[in-house]
């Protein structure tokens, strides 16, 4: 990475660290599942657009397949 970009990246990382230090740990741990549900809602919106005729159950199954692919990829990485 060029030096000027590295310096911007470091500065952004530092801000993120300092912000995390100001947030209670008990709050940060609750954000993981909240973010997961948000990610699922975004993926479902994408699936609805790809599969406009799919029922809610078919969309749920498609989401399940996507997540299983993600889990498998995580294991082999």
């Amino acid at each position: 990475m060029p030096d000027e970009f590295q310096s911007i990246a470091d500065s952004l990382y530092r801000e993120r660290v300092l912000r995390a230090r100001c947030t209670p740990s008990e709050e940060r741990i609750l954000d993981g599942p909240r973010l997961f549900d948000y990610a699922c809602s975004v993926t479902l919106a994408g699936l609805r657009s790809e599969l406009p005729c799919a029922s809610e159950e078919e969309l749920r199954q498609a989401l399940h397949r996507r997540l299983e692919i993600g889990r498998k990829l995580e294991l082999v990485r």
Binding site: R14, S25, P33, R34, F36, D37, G70
Partner: protein
């Protein structure tokens, strides 16, 4: 409350009510000690006997399905049960406390906290780092970096160095530390 958070809270509440000795590990522990990141599984280590598992299942109530068979987790070398909630995609992996010396010590050092109002335990920041150095999957490198950056000034480095010497992971730790920009 989000579905996944509600489910995790139900699991922690059932562990608490059944008096099951446990510790929250994995990405939840990582988030506790660094930045929040999306997590699709809750990983929990249990010190459990068969009657204890039955008590826990009874406390869980309906809607959950616990795989009665343990499976061997090759990344971590431990046995686990998978717990799923039938209406969501969120999973809970229940790992059995092993006889491994480090597994025992990190369990003994676990840190008490409140999860959504229920008493629970989470790995200490030092044990998140030592554990992830041992597994060393690609995502672990970033996690170790983030925990050190956030908790750096308060970490017990003697403890971390003792276990990284035992596990032969000290060089990896030094390399990650060198990649962290100056924070303070």
């Amino acid at each position: 409350m989000s579905d996944s958070l509600a489910i995790t809270t139900l699991v922690i509440a059932a562990l608490s009510r059944s008096g099951m000795p446990h510790v929250v590990v994995g990405s939840f522990a990582r988030n506790f000690h660094s930045f929040p990141r999306s997590t699709k599984d809750a990983d929990i280590v249990l010190a459990v006997d068969p009657p204890g598992l039955a008590r826990f299942e009874a406390e869980l109530g309906g809607g959950f399905s616990l795989d009665p068979q343990t499976t061997f987790e090759t990344n971590t070398g431990t046995f686990r049960h998978t717990l799923v909630h039938t209406e969501t995609e969120f999973k809970t992996e229940l790992f059995l406390l092993s006889q491994d010396a480090f597994d025992q010590e990190r369990f003994r050092r676990r840190q008490a906290f409140q999860f959504g109002g229920y008493p629970s335990f989470v790995l200490t920041a030092e044990d998140v780092i030592v554990t992830k150095l041992r597994w060393f999957r690609p995502k672990d490198v970033e996690d170790i970096r983030d925990v050190i950056a956030v908790k750096g000034p308060t970490l017990d480095w003697n403890y971390i160095h003792r276990w990284t010497s035992v596990h032969g992971t000290r060089a990896k730790l030094d390399e990650i530390q060198a990649s962290i920009p100056k924070i303070d």
